[in-house]
């Protein structure tokens, strides 16, 4: 259609100023094609990826309730992203928050683009970013599994989206103050994984441990579901990190390669740690290590070389294993599915390691001929910048999450009753159960 109008306008060019609708489009077809695929891949990470991963790790009586939380995140966060999330994150130059110009996707049409990605249709950029907001909120469900009231979870993610996710995504990706400081987060080490992990840690403390934690058998119902879910997350992550290049070029494919190597290395490291300390290489250990590697490589994925991905993956497997065993025991919190131990710790580790391994040549611009270099290229300051970014987002997320949870508790109560927890959330929250 656009081409048609451009042709029509050509003969008139000598007689009148070129009409606005005939301006050359910056939208690139190859980039658009890849990003449509990447958007689908990231949505696939939440449903069914995360839904299966989490559901397989809870007990049978809470399986549907856990899946419901993944779907709730998709439903509510998507609509709210359309209503205001996108505008507050990716419109305007504010240091702390975007503006309201694009409420309800105002002004979006077939030709519109966002200046942050003028090679893509705005509808695509907005949808791609929507899927990131969705999975971040969905990840938190792992910490509160087995005991949080469904209504409380829905209210919580609605508030959390606007008070934690939207501001921090704007600070780092929307041109806010952390971007100005030079904090590097390619695909969401801070925005997605640190945020979800820290929120999970705070929620685990505020809700308290599951009934029977440490005394009763809370073993996963079906690890095959968790393994399938992990595989879907893994593949989906190609769109998550590769898509964060926002182009279809070598940056995307390099990010995908580093991502895959980190997932493999993370799985190897966790498996070896378990084999050495527990005598057996468990399937849960292998898939946990893969997720740890994927979460940890996320902030670095578009700034590094393949061998950096292997090192980051190995570090992720070892450190996250330590966090989910030793650290968790010392800090005495019941983060049911280890959202903090894997995503929180992985996100922090990966963000700091981004400051170590960043290759300047990947980020060269006219204003910055050296690119953003890491410690290995002699720039100690980048590590400090990364740590400051982590610190600010950690504190903001922790405080805001705490306040939101307290308010939601007053409104509807965070936790189901003791009897309902014993009967299971499937039947008491949703009136359904798994009959197999």
């Amino acid at each position: 259609m656009k081409r048609f109008w451009t042709l029509l306008a050509l003969p008139c060019a000598g007689f009148a100023a070129t009409p606005a609708f005939a301006q050359a489009s910056t939208i690139n077809a190859a980039d658009t094609a890849w990003m449509i695929v990447a958007t689908a891949l990231v949505l696939l990470m939440t449903i069914p990826g995360l839904a299966l991963f989490y559901a397989g790790l809870v007990r049978k009586k809470n399986l549907l309730a856990t899946m419901a939380q993944s779907f709730a995140a998709v439903m509510f966060v998507s609509v709210l992203w359309f209503a205001a999330g996108y505008s507050l994150t990716f419109s305007g130059e504010g240091a702390y928050l975007g503006n309201l110009d694009k409420l309800f996707f105002a002004g979006m049409n077939l030709d519109s683009v966002n200046s942050l990605a003028s090679n893509l249709p705005e509808s695509l950029f907005a949808t791609y970013q929507m899927t990131f907001a969705v999975i971040t909120c969905a990840l938190i469900a792992g910490s509160v599994a087995d005991r949080m009231r469904f209504s409380a979870f829905v209210l919580f993610i609605i508030a959390w989206l606007f008070i934690v996710y939207v501001p921090s995504a704007h600070w780092i990706w929307g041109g806010g103050f952390l971007a100005g400081m030079g904090v590097m987060d390619f695909a969401g080490g801070i925005v997605v994984h640190l945020n979800a992990g820290v929120a999970g840690l705070v929620a685990a403390y505020v809700l308290g441990a599951r009934r029977g934690y440490g005394t009763e058998n809370l073993a996963p119902y079906d690890l095959t579901m968790a393994a399938v879910g992990t595989a879907l997350l893994w593949v989906g992550w190609f769109g998550f990190n590769g898509g964060s290049a926002l182009t279809a070029g070598s940056r995307a494919s390099m990010a995908i390669l580093a991502t895959h190597l980190a997932a493999c290395s993370g799985a190897i490291a966790w498996m070896v740690m378990e084999w050495l300390t527990r005598k057996k290489p468990s399937v849960l250990g292998i898939i946990s290590g893969a997720i740890a590697g994927l979460g940890t490589i996320t902030p670095a994925s578009g700034y590094i070389l393949p061998w950096h991905g292997v090192v980051i993956g190995l570090a992720a497997g070892i450190v996250c294993f330590w966090a989910c065993t030793w650290l968790k025991e010392r800090l005495r919190y019941d983060d049911s599915l280890d959202v903090f131990g894997i995503h929180g710790i992985g996100g922090i580790l990966g963000t700091v390691l981004t400051g170590v391994f960043a290759v300047g040549a990947f980020t060269v611009t006219k204003e910055l001929p050296q690119g953003q270099q890491g410690l290995l290229e002699g720039n100690v300051g980048q590590v400090v910048t990364q740590i400051i970014g982590v610190g600010i987002c950690f504190v903001w997320c922790a405080v805001a999450t705490f306040v939101i949870l307290k308010v939601v508790d007053l409104l509807v109560g965070l936790r189901v009753s003791l009897d309902h927890e014993r009967m299971g959330l499937d039947i008491t929250q949703h009136g359904e159960s798994v009959h197999t």
């Binding site: 073993a219 527990r278 849960l284 131990g341």
Partner: protein
Amino acid sequence: MKLIIAVIKPFKLEEVRDALAAVGVQGITVTEVKGYGRQKGHTEIYRGAEYAIHFLPKMRLEIAVASANADRAVDAIVKAAKTGQIGDGKIFVTSIERAIRIRTGETDNNAL
């Protein structure tokens, strides 16, 4: 008539079935059950969490035989189900008062 109830290790089921068929037993009822005896349970580790599993999966066999065949059937089960390891299971034998084949109405030994 005797009712033999045997609780055995699940992976021994096929061997026991073959052994019973060899001594002329014509029917077995099998149930998947959980329980514990001297074997107690085992521990499973999921990331940082260790759980004691008290009830172990077993197979429970019910076999009705004529009194004259009971000892042969019991011997066959013992021979086939034995590994020598703890947890091989147990066999109980009780008397049956009546037996009826539903299809024909035959009773007692004729119904077995």
